[in-house]
Symmetry: C2
């Protein structure tokens, strides 16, 4: 029972990894990268600190370009990020039969709707698992009990969300101000290891 979790180094995908491991899956943490910026490094560090195997899935740069085009056209990132996430899931499904991510009940982006999920499972003959049964309050509570976490402003080195390569590409095309307008600075939580009692 090998399963992969699309992994950013954050609390949500870390919790998903722990749940699957404790249910008996052999878990591999996977970070998709489009080859434009090594944004997977923070995720790899978190994964290794938790004792999981980590893999970078090399992705097609044109998908990132299309998503950035969509984001610049829209003026906001939601649709472009969903585009990237759907692609990342499909990419993972080429290697794994069980594909998971850390999307919670109250997440809005990235998120597949119920029809997209059903279609993904049927077309690719995979199991797709999420944290949709858990809200942010529960994830925070569990994370506090399980993990040591570092809270800090997101920068180019401490985050492995899709956001980083997207932001990097927008910066190159439209400049720093455009990149920061679309992705304002915010505080993030990054998992740095296990709490001592775990």
């Amino acid at each position: 029972m090998k399963a992969c979790v699309l992994y950013s180094g954050g609390k949500d995908s870390s919790l998903m990894a722990v749940i699957l491991q404790r249910l008996g899956y052999k878990v591999e943490l996977v970070t998709v990268n489009f080859g434009t910026y090594p944004s997977w490094r923070a995720a790899e560090e978190s994964a290794l600190n938790l004792g999981f195997k980590h893999r970078v899935l090399e992705a097609d740069e044109t998908v990132l370009k299309d998503a950035v085009g969509k984001i610049l056209e829209d003026g906001f990132p939601n649709n472009g990020i969903n585009q990237v996430h759907r692609y990342a899931l499909e990419l993972a499904s080429m290697t794994y039969d069980i594909v998971a991510d850390g999307t919670r009940r109250d997440d809005r982006v990235p998120k597949l709707n119920i029809n997209e999920i059903q279609s993904f499972e049927d077309r690719k003959n995979v199991h797709y698992l999420t944290l949709a049964g858990f809200g942010h309050k529960t994830v925070n509570h569990l994370s506090e009990n399980l993990f040591t976490v570092k809270k800090e402003l997101t920068n180019m080195k401490n985050n492995s969300d899709y956001e980083i390569e997207i932001r990097h590409m927008i910066w190159e095309i439209e400049g720093k101000e455009a990149a920061l307008n679309i992705f304002p600075e915010h505080v993030q939580s990054r998992v740095t290891g296990w709490k001592e009692n775990e």
Copy 2:
């Protein structure tokens, strides 16, 4: 971290119990009963076979009567069962701060929508957890690995779903045929214990 799972003895609520236990919660399995028929017995047996504490939460018979009235008016059980489930969650929230059930991604009844879930968590100051991130394919797969399961036709003694007390009350009011029309016989899976390697 004490948590309760609304428990029927089926695969879904058993899996939810295992997930929460393996995340560190002290789990109690709870079956709501309206005092009209001892339908909690099958659930208690499954819970004890898995080594969990089991409790019966005594519920108000008028809630069951209202639900049965709704079901007879509708001619189908969905709305009445949802009514009972919402009440069961509220009842559990009077004793527990963390309330879970085994509703899956592809379940239609009983199920709270996202607004009902948010309202429930806020009004009662609880965490509400479900299996909404897992589809039936995944639950079946995990259940096969974790549990021994007995497949058989549902009867009054081997099932602890809300259905049993509802069916019993309809039988008393409208007769056997009406009860079987609304709840046709079907095959169920009941968890009977752990697989040997667990």
